[in-house]
Symmetry: C2
Subunit: 326 residues, 2 copies
């Protein structure tokens, strides 16, 4: 237990460094011509995000042999800014009213302002990320165009009950896991790591990114307010999460018919029945097993790197970000 | 006349090079994971834009002593992609139905798709621009955050009859002229030009950018379909263009009262009366004089550079982009 408290405290110190650097950036911007844009942006940017991406960037950099410097912090902030930009824009077209417990930007300021503030966060992030070497810029750019491609694909699969696990995989790798993989890879490139180390760190990021999304999928169905997400957001929006895709694939006959009906016109009165059908199909267990597999594979990749305090913290971050005790 | 035909042909050859490079980029993207995003993006990207920004980039690079290469074409394309991204997003919140005679992307595909396609064009542009040296990346990033700031300011001034010329100047420099200035400055930096040359080219870009917006303002009130813009788009959207700001500033008593009433609830039946009031205030003449002043100042800055074919073409581009015969 002492070790685990120590681990959390050490992770927190990385998060605190990210937080301070972000606060400094926000303050600088508030003194310049973008003050109005930042005044809106900071309500989302400073609303208590977990900072997984920037913390992972700092850790992967150290795990790959890098020494903490301004360049890696610029990258870390760039990834958090770009992530926040996608949240602001996502919330508009998802019609989301709340984000981290507070009203979303488009709800308080209107769609137009939210589009512009998202754009502002994108370009601010790219300005920071663009300072890095070409190989990193290309990784960031490819990751971001893949986010857009994945979001379009996800949109096409809203309430599409024929969505296959391969579609899910493609969407998750593009939208959620790609940015985790890119954070690790870019940090490793910056640390002058070998190709094999870059690939392993990228694989680690991809693995925990996929697992991270699957945990999110489970929480949407089981609910856990301690993780900051109310139950059912995805179901109500018609998003095809993994447990649903699994159940639709394995159920047949009347149960298959019934779950289709429920998903086509979901309302809160359906919760018990939906949960029962998902249990019947073994979809929760299937998802939990897959999370475990992705986590184990990710940790295997990570453990090809030399054992260092940073590597140990990445293992801890993997466990904690997936909602486990360490 | 022979000289002028020759000038147009030579400018067209630059535009053709931009067009070919864009087509190549579009084709590459259509073979990759972003095919769906590009399929939508290209309807706007390839819809016959004038390519002022990328052509200016190529010319400024040569005028500053640069030799045509892939790097400057990457920058030129980056600026066109970023410009197109802002058009796609602008059209959403301006509620614009048509762009270059075709239905806007959000009209044909919905707001969600248009937001994502705009984001995609932004990151594609930044991916290309991010390959350049840090000083250029910083110029691009500052320009883009200034666009966002200017758009927010413009939005706040919609139907605001107390908008001052200084507000107008700030909005135009951020939104329209900044990208022209940045195109010239970035190209000059890439060509290893001296600080003074960079500043003069930037000043040229800023000057013709401001003039370009003022011409656009005039056309909105006088109409000229050969320039591709139907009359009255800005007036209907409540945008405070320079002739309107001028008239509201110089008119007093009954005419001031009347133009306020017209602008507060504009409809097409008001055209003759509005035009009459603008003539009475001398607002068309004032705007035309300012365009002339900005053009002369811009050309003065340009002429501090050595006399070269590229510089001559930039003079021609300035005249043509402002709708003049050469």
């Amino acid at each position: 237990m002492v070790a685990s408290i120590d681990l959390e405290a050490r992770l927190r110190s990385y998060r605190d460094r990210v937080e301070s650097a972000l606060e400094e950036l926000v303050s600088e911007e508030m003194l310049g011509p973008s003050a109005e844009a930042m005044a809106m942006a900071r309500t989302v940017l400073m609303a208590g995000g977990k900072r997984w991406r920037p913390v992972l960037t700092l850790l992967a950099h150290e795990a790959a042999g890098g020494v903490p410097n301004d360049e890696v912090m610029d990258l870390a902030l760039a990834f958090e800014l770009i992530h926040t930009a996608t949240l602001v824009h996502d919330d508009i077209y998802d019609g989301a009213r709340l984000r981290r417990g507070a009203p979303t930007l488009h709800t308080t300021h209107g769609d137009a302002e939210a589009i512009i503030v998202g754009d502002y966060l994108f370009v601010l992030g790219f300005g920071l990320g663009g300072r890095a070497e070409n190989k990193i810029v290309e990784s960031v750019s490819t990751t971001c165009t893949a986010i857009a491609a994945a979001e379009l694909k996800q949109m096409r699969h809203i309430r599409d009950l024929t969505t296959r696990p391969e579609d899910y995989d493609e969407i998750v790798r593009g939208k959620t896991a790609g940015p985790f993989a890119n954070a690790c890879a870019a940090a490793a490139i910056l640390a002058d790591a070998s190709e094999i180390e870059i690939e392993n760190l990228k694989g680690f990021g991809m693995g925990i990114g996929v697992a991270f999304q699957m945990v999110d999928d489970l929480l949407d169905l089981t609910g856990d307010l301690s993780m900051g997400k109310p139950r059912g957001t995805d179901v109500h929006e018609g998003k095809m999460t993994l447990p649903l895709i699994h159940a639709l694939t394995v159920l047949h006959g009347a149960p298959r018919q019934r779950i289709s009906e429920i998903l086509e016109s979901f309302n809160d009165a359906h919760w018990d029945e939906l949960t029962e059908l998902l249990h019947e199909a073994g979809s929760f267990e299937y998802t939990r097993n897959l999370i475990e597999t992705h986590l184990i594979n990710a940790l295997d990749k990570l453990r090809t790197l030399p054992s260092t305090p940073a590597r140990e913290l990445m293992e801890g971050l993997a466990e904690i970000s997936l909602g486990r005790k360490v």
